[in-house]
Structure formats: structure tokens, C-alpha cells
């Protein structure tokens, strides 16, 4: 038993009272281990869900914003701006259509455009998209401020005119592709073993991981997609879109030109605003999860209250005995408050653990599906605030039983008619 753990020696006055209350609370929790565990688990789950829902939303938004690949805008076929962004930058959804090569040349020469890289889609290898583009994308473009793409040594970037491939880090890891490997692309964006092209591509380079959707793609020369065996020869000069970086406020002028006055192409600009509109579509889900978490927080509070009330009932005699031994009302009431504080503190700790696990799971899932890397969950202000909220919840839940206990007389508990 707890001789070694007894820490009351030589503590005096109010410190002794606090120590005794704490000791009593710890014993009560241990004696009611099952209800303690249930209460802690429920509080942890509600706190973890609440924090997870809140933080995941923030992290996903941030991760998507950082994973836009350093582009301001995308020019594509007439259609939805969101579809264009998801297709061009996150390699999701289908391409809304094609653009003529001339359209690429026109926008490339626009004085408000600082970077323009055409890209073409239409094939995959074992489910991973092949994206045709120009080698300059990997030479000149900074996907993150001050950071160019890095090719793992001793690889290199593909040649514009060869059937060569530069493989994203995640694809290489998943498929085990290495330098010198050759593969047949498959037609379409979804893998279908019956639609294998005869062309053979040679892996000449593997990209260093970026934590962006780039890692989930096999990059080949633009001409490769355009002239792939089996593709329509009439489409050999068309592209799926153009990735753009703009100078100053030229986005406004281009927006008017393409979206308001023109009818042949769509300019998806500005990318962050379009992504925000994407997340706004899930606002209902976010609200539902928040409502669920709040409901669970309420349940957590009620469970703490029920645990304390049940404990109080069982410990009624114990409290009376303690009072007879000289324990003040503050000591016995304090033990109830401590019990609640400990429950809540463990609940807060548990909620952080659940939040951490939840975030890791969501992060892995998102990274696996679309290559967007999320930052590791941290104990930031919101996490600490949630922990504080749980402690407050515990104290509020303990308030009523503690108040009742404080006001109760020994006469009720000790059956004084003896």
C-alpha cells in the first residue's frame, strides 16, 4: 500500500487540508475505478472530438493553401473554377476539357504573367496520374517560397522530347519505382488493366518529398501525353490547362478578360479564395461535428456530475467520520472538488491524446488520398483552451454536489438519534 506515497508528513495548516483533500479524492477515484474510467473516457472523447474537428478544419485549410504548389491561378477549359483548381493543383476530379496551344501562348506572353506552365492529363500508371508538362516547371518554379523542386541524386529531370518520367516521392515509395525502371502507362485517369498503352516510359528521376500533391504524380513531357499511342491525333496540340503566377494586380484584368468577357476559357483566380469556397461547402459538416462535440461535452459534464453524486452517496458516512475526526467542511468539500479536478485533468489529457491520434489519422488519410501534408498536431492555444474548458466543466459539474455537501449537517449523516 501507500506508505511511500504518503506525502502528508510535516505539512501543516491549509497545506495539510489541501493535501488531505487531494489524498481523499485520489482514493475515491481509485476505489471507483470503473466509473472513473468511464467518466474520463467520455470527457476525453468529447474534448478530443471537439478539438479534432476544430483543429482538423484549420489544419486542412492551411495544408491545402500550402499545397497549391506556389501558383496564383489556373487557366483551363470553360467550366467550374473549383474543378479546375482541384484537377490542376490537387490532381482530383476530371479535367473540365482542353485548351488550344494558342491559348497557352497568348497567356504566356501577357505582361501580367510571370510564370506559365502548360499541363496535360489523360493517363495513369496503376492509378497514379501521369501529368505532362515542361521541364522548366522543375527548373524554375518555386513550389514554396524560396524552394525549387529537388530531384533525388543521381536522377534528373525528364527531357522534353524523350519518353522519360520524373516520379513523385509518394508514388515511388508506394510502387517501388526506381531509376531505370520502365513502365507502360494506362489510358484514362482511373486504372484499367485493359487500357494499357504500348508506349514505354523510363524512370530518370525521383522527386524529393514536398508534402504536396506533386508527390502523388508521375511527371512526363507534355508531348508524351499529347502524342501517346491511342490518343486522338487531332488533340495533339491541346493541353488540359496552364499553371500561372501573376504579377501585381494583373489577376483582376485577366479575370475580366477570361471570365467576364471571354467564353472559351476559365481563369481560376485567386486560388486561396476558390479553396475557401470549397471548404465552405463543408460548413454543415463542421457545424454538425461541433454540435456533436458540444453534446458529448454536456454528456461528459453530466457523467462527472453523476460520478460525483454516486461517490458522495457512497462516501456520506466517510465524510461524517472525517468531520468527527476534525476535518473541516472545506476539507471534505475540497475532496469532491479535487475529485472533479482530477477527473477533468485526466479528461483534458485524454482529449489531447485523442486529438493527437485523430489528427494523425486524418493527416495520414488526406496525405494518402491526395498527397496534402498536414502539420503535426501541437498543444497550441486552442488545445490549452479546450483543456481549460474541460477543467471548468468539471468544476461546474462539481459545484452542486460540493455545495450540497458543504451545507449538509453531520446530524443527517450520523443518525444522531442513537
Amino acid at each position: 500500500m501507500g506508505l511511500k506515497r504518503w506525502r502528508l508528513e510535516n505539512s501543516k495548516g491549509s497545506m495539510a487540508a489541501i493535501s488531505v483533500s487531494l489524498k481523499l479524492a485520489r482514493r475515491a477515484l481509485r476505489q471507483n475505478l470503473l466509473s472513473t474510467l468511464v467518466a474520463v473516457f467520455t470527457v476525453s472523447l468529447s474534448g478530443g472530438l471537439f478539438l479534432g474537428a476544430w483543429k482538423t478544419k484549420q489544419s486542412v485549410k492551411l495544408a491545402f493553401a500550402h499545397s497549391a504548389g506556389g501558383f496564383d491561378a489556373v487557366l483551363g477549359a470553360r467550366g467550374s473554377q473549383l474543378q479546375l483548381v482541384l484537377n490542376a493543383l490537387f490532381h482530383l476530379e476530371n479535367s473540365p476539357g482542353n485548351l488550344d496551344w494558342e491559348q497557352y501562348e497568348t497567356i504566356r506572353s501577357h505582361p501580367g504573367v510571370s510564370e506559365a506552365y502548360p499541363f496535360a492529363l489523360g493517363d495513369n500508371y496503376l492509378g497514379y496520374r501521369l501529368v505532362g508538362t515542361m521541364p522548366e516547371l522543375f527548373l524554375n518554379h518555386q513550389w514554396k517560397s524560396g524552394t525549387n523542386y529537388q530531384v533525388r541524386s543521381p536522377g534528373r529531370i525528364f527531357s522534353e522530347s524523350a519518353k522519360e518520367a520524373l516520379v513523385g516521392a509518394e508514388v515511388a515509395r508506394e510502387l517501388g519505382l526506381q531509376l531505370g525502371d520502365r513502365f507502360h502507362p494506362y489510358h484514362g485517369l482511373e486504372y484499367n488493366p485493359d487500357r494499357k498503352h504500348n508506349d514505354i516510359y523510363l524512370v530518370v528521376g525521383i522527386l524529393e518529398p514536398t508534402g504536396t500533391p506533386t508527390d502523388q504524380v508521375i511527371w512526363i513531357p507534355l508531348r508524351g501525353v499529347q502524342t501517346m499511342e491511342g490518343h486522338d491525333p487531332e488533340e495533339a496540340n491541346s493541353i488540359s490547362g496552364v499553371l500561372l503566377n501573376l504579377k501585381g494586380s494583373s489577376g483582376l484584368a485577366l479575370d475580366v478578360k477570361y471570365n467576364k468577357q471571354g467564353d472559351r476559357a476559365t481563369l481560376a483566380w485567386p486560388v486561396p479564395a476558390i479553396l475557401s469556397s470549397f471548404f465552405n461547402r463543408f460548413a454543415w459538416l463542421e457545424r454538425s461535428v461541433a454540435a456533436l462535440a458540444l453534446l458529448m461535452a454536456l454528456v461528459g459534464g453530466l457523467i462527472i456530475l453523476a460520478t460525483l453524486r454516486s461517490t458522495m452517496h457512497e462516501r456520506r458516512r466517510e465524510f461524517a467520520v472525517l468531520r468527527c475526526m476534525g476535518a473541516s467542511r472545506a476539507v471534505v468539500t475540497g475532496s469532491i472538488l479535487w475529485q472533479s479536478i482530477l477527473l477533468s485533468a485526466f479528461g483534458a489529457l485524454g482529449s489531447w491524446i485523442i486529438y493527437f491520434l485523430l489528427s494523425m489519422a486524418v493527416s495520414s488519410l488526406i496525405h494518402l488520398q491526395i498527397g496534402v501534408g498536414m502539420n503535426l498536431p501541437m498543444l497550441d492555444g486552442m488545445a490549452l483552451l479546450t483543456g481549460g474548458g474541460i477543467l471548468m466543466l468539471g468544476l461546474v459539474s462539481a459545484w452542486f454536489p460540493a455545495r450540497k455537501l458543504y451545507r449538509s449537517s453531520l446530524q443527517e449523516s450520523l443518525n444522531p438519534h442513537g
Binding site: L8, R27, V321, L322, M325, G326, Q411, P416, H417
Partner: protein, 231 residues
């Protein structure tokens, strides 16, 4: 000066039909330092209530209790708590050891409530009551007689000036009754603690030199005065 004195102590409870029901009416009662006194009386007659008032657990409707020159009525609750933790040891019929705490921890807890605990002293007392080899046992792991010995040790650990024992042998067999009683009385004597023991058992009462009949002391229907004296 008397160590303990009671004057015109009166307490009523409200009965279920709303009427005031007098429970304790003690005109005068006193005892000396180190005195050991047994109060005999039937169950349910108000003896425990009387002990609770002596301990400051219950506040009388009127009257006064003075312990070692201090009037309980003049004290606030905090002072009475302090008085109970340091000056009074309380023993219950059902022992009321704290179940989640080992024997030694029950003693240490009582010491802590008095301000500071001392492991050596707690062990020494457990040794005196013959339970040093059970110091880490929980109450549920002890026999009834052993539990009562721990309860006695707990009541005496702060060397109180007054020990109140409420039917302390009510749940014990004759052998354990004799043993516990002997232990309680000898420890009180050794440490100079006054002892008031209430019981309905004539065999227990008979072992005390000083005895009081509760029905004479508690004059709900009369006005007799009873003095503590040799039987």
C-alpha cells in the same frame, strides 16, 4: 476546575408530524481530567446525540459545554473542528475506518487533520495495539476485533484529552470486547485522556468505576440533577 462541564444542555428534533421532540435535557454534568466514565442506557435514547454535542458536532438549542476551560458555544465552526482534531478522539460502534486507506494511513490521516503526521508515532501506536504486522492491510482485510483496535489507535493517535466512545464494543464478541476495552482504558490512562464510554451492555458498564445512568442524567421529563460518582 472541572475538565468537562455541561450546563442546562438542551436539544430537540423536529418530529415527522412537525412537533418539537426533546432528545437531550441535561441540567448539569461534569468530569475530571483523566477520569473514565461509563454512561449506560438503552439504544435510541439520545446518548449518541449527547456525545455529538460534547464533541461539538451538534450544536445544542441551549446550554453550554466547556472542555478544558473552553466553551464550545463561543467557538466558531472552524475552531470546533480544530478542537475535535486535536483534543477529542471519537470511537464509533461500527469502527468507521476509512476503507480505501490502510491501517497506518487511517492513523496518518487523523494526524494530518490535526496539522502534521508522523510515521514513527503511528507505527509505535500500531505496535502498542498489536497490529504493526498489519500496517499496510486495508480495513476489509482485518477481523472485527482488529478493526476496532485500529479505530482505538486512530482515536488516540493525537493524544486527545478526551476520548468519546460510542458503543465501541457493540459489534464485538465477549473476548474481543474485553480485549478492546482493556486496551482503550489502559491507553487512556497511560496518556492521561479522559474517557466517556456509552453502552447499553451492563457487562461493559460494570467494568467502570464511575458510572452514570443516562435515564437519570437526561431529564427530559424531570429536573433532577445527577453528579458523576462512584457506583
Amino acid at each position: 476546575m472541572q475538565f468537562l462541564s455541561v450546563e442546562n444542555l438542551h436539544l430537540s428534533f423536529r418530529s415527522p408530524n412537525g412537533k418539537s421532540q426533546p432528545v437531550v435535557q441535561v441540567p448539569t454534568f461534569s468530569m475530571e481530567h483523566n477520569q473514565q466514565l461509563a454512561i449506560k442506557g438503552p439504544s435510541g435514547s439520545g446518548k449518541t446525540t449527547f456525545l455529538h454535542m460534547l464533541a461539538g458536532v451538534l450544536t445544542p438549542d441551549s446550554g453550554q459545554v466547556r472542555i478544558d476551560g473552553q466553551s464550545l458555544g463561543a467557538m466558531n465552526e472552524s475552531d470546533r473542528d480544530q478542537l475535535r482534531s486535536g483534543m477529542i478522539g471519537y470511537i464509533f460502534q461500527s469502527f468507521n475506518l476509512l476503507n480505501g486507506f490502510s491501517c497506518i494511513e487511517n492513523l496518518l490521516l487523523a494526524m494530518s487533520l490535526n496539522g502534521a503526521s508522523n510515521l514513527d508515532r503511528a507505527r509505535s501506536l500500531l505496535d502498542k495495539v498489536g497490529l504493526i504486522d498489519r500496517e499496510d492491510h486495508l480495513p476489509g482485510q482485518l477481523s472485527i476485533g482488529q478493526q476496532q483496535r485500529v479505530a482505538i489507535a486512530r482515536a488516540l493517535i493525537n493524544r486527545p484529552k478526551l476520548v468519546l466512545a460510542d458503543e465501541p464494543t457493540g459489534n464485538l464478541d465477549p473476548t474481543n470486547t474485553d480485549r478492546s476495552l482493556e486496551l482503550l482504558r489502559s491507553l487512556c490512562k497511560e496518556w492521561g485522556s479522559a474517557l466517556i464510554l456509552v453502552s447499553h451492555d451492563p457487562r461493559v458498564i460494570g467494568k467502570f468505576e464511575h458510572q452514570v445512568d443516562w435515564e437519570e442524567l437526561n431529564q427530559i421529563n424531570g429536573s433532577k440533577e445527577v453528579e458523576v460518582g462512584k457506583q
